[in-house]
């Protein structure tokens, strides 16, 4: 009986120990991100979606705080709903559990830490996020998040020598519904009566956002 109790305690300890391994890493990242003061940055957005033909778009982002971000553009602009901004800060801060999942090496041989986070409050509909963090540089490198109703998305972050150590580039990938439209509505006479059998129900969307010219506000 005693052995059993010890065993249970041990396993709880192990779990807690792992959790404790994740916690400081996350807390350190949060501390860094919370120090970020309002800034502006220029965005270049490249969208690669099978059914969407759009040239590179330019926009200006104004950051006043994690929940107060404005994006302005003269042109028509599409901004991914998930993964491009600092929403991971909210996910980390509101975590109900964080599980340390070991390490991996990137292409340059850097050791990266893998952490699984279960958000507490249903932040942005995210129910699970797998994060890869560069512990040494205190940066989020990659995140794969699963949402309740809107599929999953992957964000990869690249960094340079930026103000507040903000990312220079974000690469996004997500699944989305394919575009179907009755030909008579589009006026595409060529397509009338022809059914595109190769067209899948879903397609992968990719977006690359480049951030340049960070400035304090």
């Amino acid at each position: 009986m005693k052995t059993l109790r010890i065993l249970i305690l041990l396993s709880i300890f192990t779990l807690t120990a792992k959790a404790q391994d994740a916690e400081p890493i996350l807390n350190k990242l949060v501390t860094k991100l919370e120090k970020v003061k309002p800034y502006t940055v220029d965005l270049t957005i490249n969208i690669d979606v099978e059914f969407l033909k759009i040239k590179e778009r330019k926009a200006k982002l104004v950051y006043n705080g994690p929940d107060d971000i404005d994006i302005n553009s003269d042109d028509f602009m599409l901004m991914p709903k998930n993964g491009a901004q600092m929403e991971y800060l909210g996910i980390i801060k509101n975590r109900s559990a964080a599980i340390y999942e070991g390490t991996e090496q990137d292409s340059k041989g850097n050791t990266l830490t893998k952490i699984k986070i279960i958000p507490g409050k249903n932040k942005d509909g995210v129910i699970l996020a797998n994060m890869v963090i560069d512990e040494k540089k205190n940066r989020l490198v990659k995140m794969k998040a699963f949402t309740e109703s809107n599929g999953s998305f992957i964000s990869e972050f690249e960094y340079g020598n930026n103000l507040y150590d903000m990312p220079s580039k974000v690469l996004l990938e997500f699944d989305m519904k394919n575009f179907q439209i009755p030909a008579h509505l589009s006026g595409d006479i060529d397509a009338v009566g022809k059914k595109d059998a190769t067209k899948k129900e879903t397609t992968t969307g990719k977006v690359v956002i480049t951030y340049t010219g960070y400035k304090k506000k």
Binding site: V49, E50, F51, L52, K53, I54, K55, I71, S73, D74, D75, F76, M77, L78, M79, P80, K81, N82, N150, F174, M176, K177, N178, F179, Q180, I181, A183, L185, S186, G187, D188, I189, A191, V192, G193, D196, G205
Partner: protein, 278 residues
């Protein structure tokens, strides 16, 4: 020749029916603009549904360019009817009026007269097209301003506003070409008829008929479809793809030219030898 064209144009623009075309276009343009003013967001929202899941959309997609593009979409069905009202009347109208007897007993060759008539009808066609495009652009600009153009076909293209005007320029030139084919068809039917209803109905029936047959009778006339001029009436929109399909455009231009030349040649041949009994 210029004198003859002036006379024909004078006659065209003194006829009340000439203004039906301009009136109808002003009406269509106004209605589409108002429609977009009230329902545009909703319609675009519906079309962009699959994007809205994943993207926040911002900016002005309902603008002069989008309006003009939508209105140009009516080009291939509305404009031929309006063109045939005038072009279809050029020859048959004189027969119907009894004025052929005055005109063709003047010391001037039938070919010259026919050339003047064709060019006048063509000038009317060009004016009608330019009126439609400029009115769309101006009214759209006043109501919505300019912005990026969204082209929704089997794919969605968003063309930057500074990448748009040249496309409208070329689309206008192409529109002139394809409407010249329509004009020459109407002109041909006009030479065969002694009243102007025939050519109007005939032009419309041929265009709609061929379009329907192309759509529904694919199995039947499939191989012929790439060689029908009606296939290329809406091809002005080939200028609104990110990368131009030059091969298809060239083919479209050749088909239009071939039909135009055939229609005109037949008209001249037939009319030169026609016994005028009206």
């Amino acid at each position: 020749m210029i004198k003859l064209i002036q006379i024909e144009l004078y006659k065209i623009f003194r006829k009340p029916r000439t203004y039906i075309g301009f009136g109808a276009i002003a009406f269509i343009v106004t209605v589409v603009n108002l429609g977009f003013l009230f329902e545009g967001e909703q319609l675009l929202g519906f079309l962009l549904d699959s994007l809205k899941d994943k993207f926040l959309l911002s900016g002005n997609l309902i603008n002069a360019y989008t309006m003009t593009f939508v209105i140009l979409n009516s080009l291939w069905i509305h404009l031929p009817i309006l063109i045939s009202i005038t072009a279809g009347d050029m020859i048959s109208g004189e027969a119907n009026n009894g004025t052929f007897r005055l005109l063709l007993t003047r010391p001037i060759s039938r070919s010259k007269l026919l050339t003047a008539k064709f060019f006048s009808a063509w000038i009317y066609t060009v004016l009608l097209l330019l009126f439609m495009i400029s009115l769309s652009l101006i009214m759209g600009y006043l109501m919505f301003g300019v912005g990026d153009l969204i082209v929704i076909k089997s794919t969605i293209s968003i063309l930057s506003s500074d990448d748009t005007l040249w496309r409208f320029g070329y689309a206008t030139l192409y529109g002139i070409l394809s409407m010249t084919t329509v004009t020459s068809l109407s002109f041909l039917l006009s030479s065969l008829s002694e009243n102007s209803i025939g050519p109007i109905v005939g032009t419309f029936a041929i265009i709609v008929g061929l379009t329907i047959v192309s759509t529904l009778g694919y199995a039947l006339i499939g191989p012929a479809i790439p060689y029908l001029f009606t296939t290329y009436l809406p091809s002005w929109d080939l200028f609104f793809t990110m990368e131009l399909d030059t091969a298809k455009l060239t083919h479209a231009i050749y088909v239009n030219l071939a039909y135009t030349i055939a229609f005109i040649t037949f008209t001249f041949y037939y009319f030169k030898n026609k016994d005028i009994l009206s």
